[in-house]
Protein backbone atom coordinates (compact mmCIF):
# COMPACT_ATOMS: atom_id res chain seq x y z
CA UNK A 1 0.00 0.00 0.00
CA UNK A 2 1.32 3.35 -0.95
CA UNK A 3 -1.08 5.32 1.17
CA UNK A 4 -1.99 5.13 4.81
CA UNK A 5 -5.72 4.50 4.95
CA UNK A 6 -7.82 5.86 7.77
CA UNK A 7 -10.45 3.97 9.77
CA UNK A 8 -13.19 2.33 7.77
CA UNK A 9 -15.13 -0.82 8.56
CA UNK A 10 -17.48 -2.59 6.20
CA UNK A 11 -21.08 -1.51 6.85
CA UNK A 12 -22.15 -5.00 7.89
CA UNK A 13 -19.52 -4.91 10.63
CA UNK A 14 -21.26 -2.00 12.31
CA UNK A 15 -23.72 -4.34 14.01
CA UNK A 16 -20.87 -5.91 15.98
CA UNK A 17 -19.35 -9.37 16.05
CA UNK A 18 -21.29 -12.41 14.84
CA UNK A 19 -19.69 -14.82 17.28
CA UNK A 20 -20.07 -13.79 20.87
CA UNK A 21 -18.99 -14.92 24.31
CA UNK A 22 -20.76 -18.25 23.75
CA UNK A 23 -18.25 -19.09 21.04
CA UNK A 24 -15.51 -18.16 23.49
CA UNK A 25 -16.99 -20.53 26.01
CA UNK A 26 -17.44 -23.45 23.62
CA UNK A 27 -13.74 -24.07 22.83
CA UNK A 28 -12.96 -23.37 26.47
CA UNK A 29 -15.24 -26.19 27.60
CA UNK A 30 -14.12 -28.65 24.92
CA UNK A 31 -10.55 -27.78 25.87
CA UNK A 32 -11.22 -28.77 29.45
CA UNK A 33 -12.77 -32.01 28.18
CA UNK A 34 -9.73 -32.88 26.10
CA UNK A 35 -7.25 -31.78 28.77
CA UNK A 36 -8.88 -33.76 31.55
CA UNK A 37 -9.03 -36.83 29.35
CA UNK A 38 -5.32 -36.55 28.65
CA UNK A 39 -4.62 -36.79 32.38
CA UNK A 40 -6.72 -39.94 32.60
CA UNK A 41 -4.92 -41.33 29.56
CA UNK A 42 -1.52 -40.55 31.04
CA UNK A 43 -2.46 -42.96 33.79
CA UNK A 44 -4.29 -45.59 31.78
CA UNK A 45 -2.08 -45.66 28.69
CA UNK A 46 1.25 -44.08 29.53
CA UNK A 47 1.65 -45.77 32.88
CA UNK A 48 1.99 -42.62 34.96
CA UNK A 49 1.04 -44.49 38.14
CA UNK A 50 1.47 -41.44 40.35
CA UNK A 51 -1.65 -39.98 38.72
CA UNK A 52 -3.83 -42.79 40.13
CA UNK A 53 -5.54 -40.52 42.72
CA UNK A 54 -7.02 -38.30 40.02
CA UNK A 55 -7.42 -40.80 37.18
CA UNK A 56 -11.07 -41.61 37.88
CA UNK A 57 -11.92 -38.04 38.74
CA UNK A 58 -10.33 -36.84 35.49
CA UNK A 59 -12.65 -39.10 33.54
CA UNK A 60 -15.68 -37.87 35.46
CA UNK A 61 -14.64 -34.25 34.90
CA UNK A 62 -14.04 -34.84 31.23
CA UNK A 63 -17.49 -36.37 30.89
CA UNK A 64 -19.22 -33.64 32.89
CA UNK A 65 -17.79 -30.91 30.70
CA UNK A 66 -18.38 -32.85 27.52
CA UNK A 67 -22.06 -33.22 28.41
CA UNK A 68 -22.48 -29.43 28.24
CA UNK A 69 -20.09 -28.60 25.42
CA UNK A 70 -22.91 -28.13 22.92
CA UNK A 71 -25.04 -25.87 25.10
CA UNK A 72 -23.16 -22.64 24.25
CA UNK A 73 -23.47 -23.52 20.58
CA UNK A 74 -27.21 -24.05 20.87
CA UNK A 75 -27.54 -20.71 22.62
CA UNK A 76 -25.53 -19.10 19.86
CA UNK A 77 -27.42 -20.56 16.88
CA UNK A 78 -29.99 -18.19 15.44
CA UNK A 79 -32.13 -21.19 14.48
CA UNK A 80 -31.44 -23.64 17.34
CA UNK A 81 -34.41 -25.81 16.38
CA UNK A 82 -32.46 -26.74 13.23
CA UNK A 83 -29.34 -27.71 15.18
CA UNK A 84 -29.59 -31.37 14.17
CA UNK A 85 -29.43 -30.45 10.48
CA UNK A 86 -25.69 -30.43 11.05
CA UNK A 87 -25.84 -34.21 11.53
CA UNK A 88 -28.75 -34.97 9.22
CA UNK A 89 -27.50 -33.07 6.20
CA UNK A 90 -23.83 -32.41 6.90
CA UNK A 91 -21.92 -30.60 4.21
CA UNK A 92 -18.53 -32.21 4.54
CA UNK A 93 -16.67 -29.45 2.78
CA UNK A 94 -17.32 -27.47 5.94
CA UNK A 95 -14.97 -27.84 8.87
CA UNK A 96 -18.00 -27.43 11.08
CA UNK A 97 -19.97 -30.34 9.61
CA UNK A 98 -17.96 -33.00 11.42
CA UNK A 99 -18.77 -31.47 14.76
CA UNK A 100 -21.88 -33.45 15.53
CA UNK A 101 -20.23 -36.77 14.75
CA UNK A 102 -16.93 -36.10 16.47
CA UNK A 103 -18.73 -34.78 19.52
CA UNK A 104 -21.20 -37.67 19.70
CA UNK A 105 -18.41 -40.18 19.28
CA UNK A 106 -16.40 -38.61 22.03
CA UNK A 107 -19.28 -38.28 24.47
CA UNK A 108 -20.20 -41.93 23.85
CA UNK A 109 -16.61 -43.01 24.34
CA UNK A 110 -16.40 -41.14 27.63
CA UNK A 111 -19.71 -42.53 28.87
CA UNK A 112 -18.75 -46.10 27.99
CA UNK A 113 -15.32 -45.78 29.55
CA UNK A 114 -16.82 -44.42 32.77
CA UNK A 115 -19.37 -47.25 32.93
CA UNK A 116 -16.56 -49.79 32.57
CA UNK A 117 -14.07 -48.12 34.92
CA UNK A 118 -16.67 -47.89 37.65
CA UNK A 119 -18.37 -51.16 36.82
CA UNK A 120 -17.22 -53.15 39.88
CA UNK A 121 -18.47 -50.41 42.21
CA UNK A 122 -21.71 -49.99 40.30
CA UNK A 123 -22.42 -53.71 40.46
CA UNK A 124 -21.64 -53.78 44.18
CA UNK A 125 -23.95 -50.84 44.88
CA UNK A 126 -26.74 -52.24 42.70
CA UNK A 127 -27.12 -55.21 45.01
CA UNK A 128 -29.48 -53.54 47.51
CA UNK A 129 -33.05 -52.41 47.10
CA UNK A 130 -34.54 -48.93 46.91
CA UNK A 131 -34.37 -46.05 44.50
CA UNK A 132 -30.63 -45.56 44.73
CA UNK A 133 -29.87 -49.16 43.86
CA UNK A 134 -32.28 -48.85 40.94
CA UNK A 135 -30.04 -46.15 39.49
CA UNK A 136 -27.02 -48.44 39.84
CA UNK A 137 -28.99 -51.29 38.27
CA UNK A 138 -29.52 -49.09 35.23
CA UNK A 139 -25.85 -48.09 35.21
CA UNK A 140 -24.88 -51.76 35.49
CA UNK A 141 -26.89 -52.31 32.30
CA UNK A 142 -28.95 -54.88 34.11
CA UNK A 143 -26.09 -57.32 34.41
CA UNK A 144 -25.07 -57.78 38.02
CA UNK A 145 -22.80 -60.71 37.40
CA UNK A 146 -19.10 -59.94 37.57
CA UNK A 147 -16.36 -62.52 37.25
CA UNK A 148 -12.60 -62.46 36.99
CA UNK A 149 -13.01 -63.12 33.28
CA UNK A 150 -15.45 -60.24 32.76
CA UNK A 151 -13.19 -57.90 34.73
CA UNK A 152 -10.31 -58.87 32.52
CA UNK A 153 -12.35 -58.19 29.38
CA UNK A 154 -13.47 -54.81 30.79
CA UNK A 155 -9.87 -53.88 31.55
CA UNK A 156 -8.97 -54.57 27.95
CA UNK A 157 -11.82 -52.38 26.75
CA UNK A 158 -10.87 -49.58 29.14
CA UNK A 159 -7.36 -49.67 27.80
CA UNK A 160 -8.59 -49.69 24.21
CA UNK A 161 -10.99 -46.81 24.82
CA UNK A 162 -8.21 -44.79 26.47
CA UNK A 163 -5.97 -45.42 23.51
CA UNK A 164 -8.70 -44.44 21.02
CA UNK A 165 -9.61 -41.52 23.22
CA UNK A 166 -6.26 -39.79 22.85
CA UNK A 167 -6.43 -39.21 19.11
CA UNK A 168 -10.15 -38.60 19.49
CA UNK A 169 -9.42 -35.84 22.01
CA UNK A 170 -6.88 -34.41 19.60
CA UNK A 171 -9.42 -34.53 16.80
CA UNK A 172 -12.15 -33.02 18.97
CA UNK A 173 -10.07 -30.07 19.93
CA UNK A 174 -7.65 -29.72 17.07
CA UNK A 175 -10.75 -29.63 14.94
CA UNK A 176 -12.09 -26.64 16.89
CA UNK A 177 -8.82 -24.89 16.11
CA UNK A 178 -9.20 -25.80 12.47
CA UNK A 179 -12.60 -24.09 12.33
CA UNK A 180 -10.71 -20.86 12.94
CA UNK A 181 -7.42 -21.75 11.27
CA UNK A 182 -9.11 -22.57 7.99
CA UNK A 183 -10.66 -19.15 7.43
CA UNK A 184 -8.48 -17.49 4.83
CA UNK A 185 -10.55 -14.33 5.02
CA UNK A 186 -9.23 -13.60 8.49
CA UNK A 187 -5.45 -13.17 8.86
CA UNK A 188 -5.65 -13.35 12.66
CA UNK A 189 -7.11 -16.86 12.39
CA UNK A 190 -5.71 -18.22 9.19
CA UNK A 191 -2.71 -20.28 10.28
CA UNK A 192 -1.93 -23.98 10.20
CA UNK A 193 -0.67 -23.62 13.76
CA UNK A 194 -4.16 -22.89 15.03
CA UNK A 195 -5.26 -26.51 15.66
CA UNK A 196 -1.99 -27.28 17.45
CA UNK A 197 -2.27 -24.13 19.52
CA UNK A 198 -5.82 -25.03 20.48
CA UNK A 199 -4.76 -28.54 21.38
CA UNK A 200 -1.83 -27.44 23.51
CA UNK A 201 -3.92 -24.87 25.33
CA UNK A 202 -6.67 -27.46 25.80
CA UNK A 203 -4.33 -29.84 27.54
CA UNK A 204 -2.97 -26.97 29.63
CA UNK A 205 -6.43 -25.89 30.73
CA UNK A 206 -7.51 -29.45 31.53
CA UNK A 207 -4.53 -30.19 33.74
CA UNK A 208 -4.81 -26.81 35.44
CA UNK A 209 -8.45 -27.43 36.23
CA UNK A 210 -7.70 -30.87 37.63
CA UNK A 211 -4.98 -29.44 39.88
CA UNK A 212 -7.36 -26.83 41.27
CA UNK A 213 -10.27 -29.24 41.66
CA UNK A 214 -8.04 -31.91 43.22
CA UNK A 215 -6.74 -29.48 45.84
CA UNK A 216 -10.22 -28.07 46.55
CA UNK A 217 -11.81 -31.52 46.79
CA UNK A 218 -9.06 -32.79 49.06
CA UNK A 219 -9.67 -29.85 51.39
CA UNK A 220 -13.42 -30.43 51.30
CA UNK A 221 -13.03 -34.15 51.96
CA UNK A 222 -10.37 -33.50 54.60
CA UNK A 223 -7.94 -35.74 52.78
CA UNK A 224 -4.23 -35.16 52.36
CA UNK A 225 -3.19 -34.09 48.91
CA UNK A 226 -1.01 -36.76 47.35
CA UNK A 227 2.26 -34.93 46.86
CA UNK A 228 3.63 -37.15 44.08
CA UNK A 229 0.39 -36.86 42.14
CA UNK A 230 0.29 -33.09 42.46
CA UNK A 231 3.94 -32.75 41.58
CA UNK A 232 3.50 -34.89 38.50
CA UNK A 233 0.50 -32.84 37.35
CA UNK A 234 2.39 -29.59 37.89
CA UNK A 235 5.38 -30.87 35.99
CA UNK A 236 3.18 -31.96 33.10
CA UNK A 237 1.33 -28.65 33.17
CA UNK A 238 4.64 -26.79 33.10
CA UNK A 239 5.73 -28.77 30.05
CA UNK A 240 2.53 -28.23 28.13
CA UNK A 241 2.43 -24.57 29.15
CA UNK A 242 5.81 -24.07 27.55
CA UNK A 243 4.58 -25.81 24.43
CA UNK A 244 1.37 -23.78 24.28
CA UNK A 245 3.01 -20.42 24.89
CA UNK A 246 5.82 -21.19 22.45
CA UNK A 247 3.31 -21.94 19.72
CA UNK A 248 1.17 -18.92 20.52
CA UNK A 249 4.19 -16.61 20.52
CA UNK A 250 5.63 -18.24 17.43
CA UNK A 251 2.51 -17.47 15.47
CA UNK A 252 2.62 -13.81 16.46
CA UNK A 253 6.37 -13.56 16.00
CA UNK A 254 6.14 -15.01 12.54
CA UNK A 255 3.45 -12.52 11.51
CA UNK A 256 5.45 -9.63 12.94
CA UNK A 257 8.72 -10.74 11.36
CA UNK A 258 7.21 -11.31 7.95
CA UNK A 259 5.33 -8.03 8.36
CA UNK A 260 3.02 -8.69 5.43
CA UNK A 261 0.22 -6.44 4.33
CA UNK A 262 -2.03 -7.56 7.16
CA UNK A 263 0.52 -6.85 9.90
CA UNK A 264 -0.30 -3.17 9.67
CA UNK A 265 -3.72 -3.84 11.16
CA UNK A 266 -2.78 -6.91 13.25
CA UNK A 267 -0.09 -5.01 15.15
CA UNK A 268 -2.71 -2.47 16.07
CA UNK A 269 -5.08 -5.24 17.09
CA UNK A 270 -2.50 -6.67 19.50
CA UNK A 271 -1.24 -3.42 20.95
CA UNK A 272 -4.51 -1.47 21.05
CA UNK A 273 -7.61 -3.64 21.10
CA UNK A 274 -6.15 -6.74 22.79
CA UNK A 275 -3.53 -4.94 24.85
CA UNK A 276 -5.08 -6.03 28.13
CA UNK A 277 -6.41 -9.48 27.29
CA UNK A 278 -3.50 -10.57 25.11
CA UNK A 279 -0.34 -8.85 26.29
CA UNK A 280 -1.18 -8.55 29.97
CA UNK A 281 -3.52 -11.43 30.75
CA UNK A 282 -2.54 -14.09 28.24
CA UNK A 283 1.21 -13.54 28.04
CA UNK A 284 2.23 -12.06 31.40
CA UNK A 285 -0.32 -12.93 34.08
CA UNK A 286 -1.40 -16.23 32.57
CA UNK A 287 1.87 -17.52 31.10
CA UNK A 288 5.01 -15.90 32.49
CA UNK A 289 3.95 -15.94 36.14
CA UNK A 290 2.62 -19.53 36.20
CA UNK A 291 5.73 -20.62 34.33
CA UNK A 292 7.89 -19.46 37.26
CA UNK A 293 5.45 -20.62 39.94
CA UNK A 294 5.15 -24.10 38.41
CA UNK A 295 8.90 -24.37 37.98
CA UNK A 296 9.41 -23.68 41.67
CA UNK A 297 6.40 -25.82 42.49
CA UNK A 298 7.46 -29.05 40.85
CA UNK A 299 11.03 -29.00 42.17
CA UNK A 300 11.68 -31.76 44.68
CA UNK A 301 13.03 -29.36 47.30
CA UNK A 302 9.77 -27.44 47.55
CA UNK A 303 7.69 -28.45 50.54
CA UNK A 304 4.32 -30.14 49.89
CA UNK A 305 2.49 -27.24 51.54
CA UNK A 306 4.12 -24.67 49.26
CA UNK A 307 3.53 -26.96 46.33
CA UNK A 308 -0.20 -26.99 47.02
CA UNK A 309 -0.29 -23.18 47.18
CA UNK A 310 1.81 -22.71 44.08
CA UNK A 311 -0.13 -25.36 42.20
CA UNK A 312 -3.49 -23.83 43.02
CA UNK A 313 -2.42 -20.28 42.15
CA UNK A 314 -0.74 -21.24 38.92
CA UNK A 315 -3.65 -23.54 38.04
CA UNK A 316 -6.10 -20.68 38.42
CA UNK A 317 -3.85 -18.31 36.47
CA UNK A 318 -3.52 -20.80 33.65
CA UNK A 319 -7.29 -21.26 33.56
CA UNK A 320 -7.62 -17.50 33.14
CA UNK A 321 -4.90 -17.55 30.49
CA UNK A 322 -6.69 -20.11 28.37
CA UNK A 323 -10.00 -18.28 28.68
CA UNK A 324 -8.22 -15.09 27.60
CA UNK A 325 -6.63 -16.98 24.73
CA UNK A 326 -10.06 -18.17 23.54
CA UNK A 327 -11.33 -14.61 23.80
CA UNK A 328 -8.37 -13.18 21.93
CA UNK A 329 -8.81 -15.65 19.11
CA UNK A 330 -12.60 -15.64 18.80
CA UNK A 331 -13.46 -12.04 19.59
CA UNK A 332 -10.10 -10.57 18.62
CA UNK A 333 -10.32 -12.09 15.17
CA UNK A 334 -13.74 -10.62 14.62
CA UNK A 335 -12.65 -7.17 15.77
CA UNK A 336 -10.72 -7.09 12.54
CA UNK A 337 -13.05 -5.69 9.90
CA UNK A 338 -12.55 -7.44 6.57
CA UNK A 339 -11.80 -3.97 5.21
CA UNK A 340 -8.54 -4.24 7.20
CA UNK A 341 -8.98 -0.52 7.78
CA UNK A 342 -10.58 -0.40 11.17
CA UNK A 343 -11.96 -2.36 14.09
CA UNK A 344 -15.37 -3.77 14.78
CA UNK A 345 -16.80 -2.51 18.00
CA UNK A 346 -17.14 -5.29 20.55
CA UNK A 347 -19.64 -4.46 23.25
CA UNK A 348 -19.93 -7.28 25.79
CA UNK A 349 -23.55 -8.09 26.33
CA UNK A 350 -24.59 -8.92 29.89
CA UNK A 351 -28.19 -9.97 29.55
CA UNK A 352 -29.90 -11.85 26.73
CA UNK A 353 -29.49 -15.29 25.30
CA UNK A 354 -25.85 -14.83 24.36
CA UNK A 355 -24.99 -12.59 27.29
CA UNK A 356 -22.24 -12.98 29.86
CA UNK A 357 -24.67 -13.88 32.64
CA UNK A 358 -26.07 -16.82 30.68
CA UNK A 359 -22.54 -17.83 29.76
CA UNK A 360 -21.58 -17.87 33.42
CA UNK A 361 -24.69 -19.90 34.15
CA UNK A 362 -23.78 -22.38 31.43
CA UNK A 363 -20.28 -22.69 32.81
CA UNK A 364 -21.56 -23.68 36.26
CA UNK A 365 -23.58 -26.57 34.82
CA UNK A 366 -20.61 -28.93 34.23
CA UNK A 367 -19.53 -28.35 37.82
CA UNK A 368 -22.99 -29.21 39.11
CA UNK A 369 -22.98 -32.39 37.04
CA UNK A 370 -19.48 -33.18 38.27
CA UNK A 371 -20.61 -32.83 41.87
CA UNK A 372 -23.53 -35.13 41.09
CA UNK A 373 -21.22 -37.68 39.50
CA UNK A 374 -18.88 -37.59 42.50
CA UNK A 375 -21.91 -38.28 44.70
CA UNK A 376 -23.02 -41.23 42.61
CA UNK A 377 -19.69 -42.80 41.72
CA UNK A 378 -16.59 -43.35 43.87
CA UNK A 379 -14.38 -41.07 41.82
CA UNK A 380 -11.71 -40.79 44.51
CA UNK A 381 -11.19 -44.51 44.88
CA UNK A 382 -7.80 -45.52 43.60
CA UNK A 383 -8.16 -47.79 40.64
CA UNK A 384 -7.19 -51.34 41.29
CA UNK A 385 -6.74 -52.13 37.64
CA UNK A 386 -3.22 -52.52 36.46
CA UNK A 387 -2.58 -52.01 32.78
Amino acid sequence: MTHQAAEFIFPNDMSGVAWTVMIVLYPYITGLVAGAFVVAALYHVFGRKELAPVARFALAASFSFCAFATLPLLLHLHQPQRAFFIMFMPNFTSAMAGFGFIYSFYLTLLAVEILLVFRSDIVAMAAGTGIKSLLYKVLSLGVLRETAKSKQIDAKWIHALSVIGIPAACVLHGYVGFIFGGIKANPWWSTALMPVIFLASAIVSGIAMLIVLYVVYSKVRGVKVDDECLRSMMKTLWLFLILAVTLESLELLNMAYEAGEEWHILSRLVTEKLRFTFLYVQLIIGSAIPFVLLLIGWMKKTSPRTRITLGTISGLLVLVQVLAMRFNVVIGGQMLSKSFRGFVQYVPEWYGREGILVAMGVFTLPFILLIAVTQILPVWKIDAHDH
Binding site: F84, F88, L141, R145, K149, I153
Partner: protein, 206 residues
Protein backbone atom coordinates in the same frame (compact mmCIF):
# COMPACT_ATOMS: atom_id res chain seq x y z
CA UNK B 1 -17.27 -63.66 21.66
CA UNK B 2 -20.74 -63.79 23.14
CA UNK B 3 -20.73 -65.16 26.64
CA UNK B 4 -22.20 -64.34 30.01
CA UNK B 5 -18.97 -62.47 30.75
CA UNK B 6 -19.52 -60.09 27.85
CA UNK B 7 -23.28 -59.76 28.24
CA UNK B 8 -23.11 -56.23 29.62
CA UNK B 9 -20.95 -55.17 26.68
CA UNK B 10 -23.45 -56.59 24.24
CA UNK B 11 -26.27 -54.78 25.99
CA UNK B 12 -24.25 -51.60 25.71
CA UNK B 13 -23.61 -52.24 22.04
CA UNK B 14 -27.31 -52.94 21.55
CA UNK B 15 -28.28 -49.70 23.26
CA UNK B 16 -25.86 -47.75 21.07
CA UNK B 17 -27.16 -49.50 17.99
CA UNK B 18 -30.68 -48.53 19.03
CA UNK B 19 -29.60 -44.90 19.31
CA UNK B 20 -28.05 -45.22 15.87
CA UNK B 21 -31.22 -46.64 14.36
CA UNK B 22 -33.21 -43.88 16.04
CA UNK B 23 -30.84 -41.32 14.59
CA UNK B 24 -31.22 -42.58 11.05
CA UNK B 25 -34.97 -42.87 11.39
CA UNK B 26 -35.37 -39.29 12.56
CA UNK B 27 -32.86 -38.21 9.95
CA UNK B 28 -34.80 -39.91 7.20
CA UNK B 29 -37.99 -38.20 8.33
CA UNK B 30 -36.34 -34.79 8.62
CA UNK B 31 -34.49 -34.49 5.33
CA UNK B 32 -36.59 -32.53 2.85
CA UNK B 33 -37.54 -34.60 -0.23
CA UNK B 34 -35.81 -32.23 -2.63
CA UNK B 35 -32.54 -32.23 -0.71
CA UNK B 36 -29.74 -33.35 -3.02
CA UNK B 37 -31.83 -32.89 -6.16
CA UNK B 38 -29.24 -30.61 -7.80
CA UNK B 39 -26.44 -30.65 -5.27
CA UNK B 40 -25.93 -30.61 -1.54
CA UNK B 41 -28.89 -28.34 -0.88
CA UNK B 42 -32.66 -28.26 -0.90
CA UNK B 43 -33.75 -28.26 -4.54
CA UNK B 44 -37.07 -26.66 -3.64
CA UNK B 45 -35.18 -23.63 -2.38
CA UNK B 46 -34.57 -22.60 -5.98
CA UNK B 47 -38.28 -22.33 -6.65
CA UNK B 48 -38.82 -20.35 -3.45
CA UNK B 49 -36.05 -17.97 -4.46
CA UNK B 50 -37.52 -17.61 -7.97
CA UNK B 51 -41.05 -17.02 -6.70
CA UNK B 52 -40.14 -14.25 -4.29
CA UNK B 53 -42.30 -11.19 -4.80
CA UNK B 54 -40.87 -8.51 -7.07
CA UNK B 55 -41.47 -5.24 -5.31
CA UNK B 56 -39.72 -2.41 -7.09
CA UNK B 57 -41.19 -1.06 -10.32
CA UNK B 58 -38.90 -2.14 -13.13
CA UNK B 59 -37.99 -0.31 -16.29
CA UNK B 60 -39.95 -2.98 -18.08
CA UNK B 61 -43.07 -2.11 -16.07
CA UNK B 62 -42.87 1.50 -17.29
CA UNK B 63 -41.95 0.61 -20.84
CA UNK B 64 -44.95 -1.70 -21.11
CA UNK B 65 -47.13 1.39 -21.68
CA UNK B 66 -44.64 4.18 -22.24
CA UNK B 67 -42.51 2.72 -25.00
CA UNK B 68 -42.47 6.01 -26.92
CA UNK B 69 -41.08 7.87 -23.91
CA UNK B 70 -37.77 6.11 -24.48
CA UNK B 71 -37.24 8.10 -27.67
CA UNK B 72 -38.25 11.32 -26.01
CA UNK B 73 -35.53 10.95 -23.42
CA UNK B 74 -32.34 12.77 -24.36
CA UNK B 75 -29.14 10.81 -24.54
CA UNK B 76 -27.82 12.01 -21.19
CA UNK B 77 -30.92 10.99 -19.25
CA UNK B 78 -31.82 7.90 -21.21
CA UNK B 79 -30.27 5.75 -18.51
CA UNK B 80 -32.31 7.30 -15.70
CA UNK B 81 -35.12 5.06 -14.51
CA UNK B 82 -38.53 6.80 -14.44
CA UNK B 83 -39.01 6.04 -10.75
CA UNK B 84 -36.04 8.19 -9.80
CA UNK B 85 -38.10 11.33 -10.38
CA UNK B 86 -41.68 10.07 -10.66
CA UNK B 87 -41.73 7.68 -7.75
CA UNK B 88 -42.79 4.07 -8.07
CA UNK B 89 -46.22 4.86 -9.45
CA UNK B 90 -47.85 1.76 -8.02
CA UNK B 91 -51.21 3.60 -7.70
CA UNK B 92 -50.85 4.79 -11.25
CA UNK B 93 -50.28 1.30 -12.54
CA UNK B 94 -53.20 -0.14 -10.58
CA UNK B 95 -55.51 2.65 -11.75
CA UNK B 96 -54.39 2.12 -15.33
CA UNK B 97 -55.08 -1.58 -15.19
CA UNK B 98 -58.62 -0.94 -13.96
CA UNK B 99 -59.25 1.82 -16.46
CA UNK B 100 -58.02 -0.30 -19.35
CA UNK B 101 -60.16 -3.24 -18.30
CA UNK B 102 -63.25 -1.03 -18.16
CA UNK B 103 -62.58 0.79 -21.46
CA UNK B 104 -64.02 -0.27 -24.80
CA UNK B 105 -61.56 -0.98 -27.58
CA UNK B 106 -60.58 2.23 -29.33
CA UNK B 107 -61.32 4.44 -26.32
CA UNK B 108 -58.62 6.77 -25.13
CA UNK B 109 -57.69 5.59 -21.64
CA UNK B 110 -56.82 8.23 -19.12
CA UNK B 111 -54.97 6.96 -16.05
CA UNK B 112 -54.82 8.49 -12.63
CA UNK B 113 -51.61 10.53 -12.36
CA UNK B 114 -51.79 11.45 -8.68
CA UNK B 115 -48.38 11.56 -6.96
CA UNK B 116 -46.58 11.04 -10.23
CA UNK B 117 -45.26 14.52 -10.83
CA UNK B 118 -42.47 15.84 -8.63
CA UNK B 119 -43.14 19.06 -6.75
CA UNK B 120 -39.55 19.66 -5.71
CA UNK B 121 -37.52 19.06 -8.81
CA UNK B 122 -34.55 20.97 -7.38
CA UNK B 123 -33.73 18.42 -4.70
CA UNK B 124 -34.18 15.61 -7.22
CA UNK B 125 -31.78 17.23 -9.67
CA UNK B 126 -29.26 18.11 -7.02
CA UNK B 127 -29.32 14.58 -5.71
CA UNK B 128 -27.18 13.62 -8.68
CA UNK B 129 -25.89 16.97 -9.91
CA UNK B 130 -24.71 18.67 -6.73
CA UNK B 131 -20.99 19.18 -6.86
CA UNK B 132 -19.27 16.58 -4.70
CA UNK B 133 -15.84 15.07 -4.16
CA UNK B 134 -15.86 11.59 -5.62
CA UNK B 135 -18.08 12.26 -8.62
CA UNK B 136 -16.38 11.82 -11.96
CA UNK B 137 -15.35 15.24 -13.26
CA UNK B 138 -17.13 14.55 -16.55
CA UNK B 139 -20.41 14.13 -14.69
CA UNK B 140 -22.28 17.49 -14.83
CA UNK B 141 -22.26 19.01 -11.35
CA UNK B 142 -23.17 22.42 -9.97
CA UNK B 143 -22.62 24.47 -6.88
CA UNK B 144 -26.23 25.61 -6.54
CA UNK B 145 -25.80 29.18 -5.21
CA UNK B 146 -23.08 29.90 -7.77
CA UNK B 147 -25.16 28.33 -10.52
CA UNK B 148 -28.05 30.63 -9.63
CA UNK B 149 -25.75 33.65 -9.68
CA UNK B 150 -24.29 32.69 -13.05
CA UNK B 151 -27.61 31.98 -14.77
CA UNK B 152 -30.06 34.32 -13.07
CA UNK B 153 -33.36 32.39 -13.51
CA UNK B 154 -36.78 34.10 -13.37
CA UNK B 155 -37.77 32.64 -10.02
CA UNK B 156 -34.73 31.27 -8.15
CA UNK B 157 -36.79 30.47 -5.01
CA UNK B 158 -39.11 28.04 -6.81
CA UNK B 159 -38.60 24.33 -6.04
CA UNK B 160 -39.04 23.81 -9.78
CA UNK B 161 -36.33 26.30 -10.62
CA UNK B 162 -34.24 23.88 -12.69
CA UNK B 163 -37.04 23.53 -15.21
CA UNK B 164 -36.91 27.22 -16.01
CA UNK B 165 -33.84 26.44 -18.08
CA UNK B 166 -33.65 22.63 -18.44
CA UNK B 167 -35.99 19.96 -19.78
CA UNK B 168 -35.77 17.05 -17.32
CA UNK B 169 -36.32 14.36 -19.92
CA UNK B 170 -33.67 15.92 -22.13
CA UNK B 171 -31.53 18.45 -20.26
CA UNK B 172 -29.53 19.32 -23.37
CA UNK B 173 -32.69 20.82 -24.90
CA UNK B 174 -33.90 24.39 -24.15
CA UNK B 175 -37.49 24.56 -22.88
CA UNK B 176 -39.84 25.86 -25.56
CA UNK B 177 -42.61 28.34 -24.70
CA UNK B 178 -45.50 26.58 -26.38
CA UNK B 179 -44.99 23.32 -24.52
CA UNK B 180 -44.95 25.09 -21.17
CA UNK B 181 -43.28 22.18 -19.44
CA UNK B 182 -42.78 24.20 -16.35
CA UNK B 183 -46.39 24.73 -15.42
CA UNK B 184 -47.93 21.35 -16.27
CA UNK B 185 -46.30 19.08 -13.74
CA UNK B 186 -46.93 21.49 -10.90
CA UNK B 187 -50.63 21.47 -11.72
CA UNK B 188 -50.88 17.76 -11.96
CA UNK B 189 -49.25 17.24 -8.63
CA UNK B 190 -51.29 17.37 -5.49
CA UNK B 191 -49.84 18.79 -2.27
CA UNK B 192 -49.57 15.30 -0.80
CA UNK B 193 -47.18 14.41 -3.57
CA UNK B 194 -44.43 16.48 -2.04
CA UNK B 195 -42.83 13.96 0.33
CA UNK B 196 -42.87 11.16 -2.19
CA UNK B 197 -41.31 13.26 -4.87
CA UNK B 198 -38.80 14.87 -2.55
CA UNK B 199 -37.17 11.54 -1.98
CA UNK B 200 -35.38 11.04 -5.23
CA UNK B 201 -33.72 7.78 -5.98
CA UNK B 202 -35.80 4.67 -6.34
CA UNK B 203 -38.89 6.61 -5.43
CA UNK B 204 -40.12 6.65 -1.88
CA UNK B 205 -37.64 5.82 0.82
CA UNK B 206 -39.17 3.89 3.60
Amino acid sequence: MFSRDTLHLWILAGALALVGVGFFTVRGLTIPPSFGQFGHYRGAALQTATDKERKLTTRGDCAACHETLKHEMGKSHAAVHCIECHGEGKDHMTACKTAKAAAKPGDKVSCDKTNLMPTDIKSICLHCHQQMVGRATKHPQINFPEHMKDNDPKDPKSPMVCMQCHVPHDPSEEPSDDKDDEAKPAEAATPTAAPAAATPAAGGAE
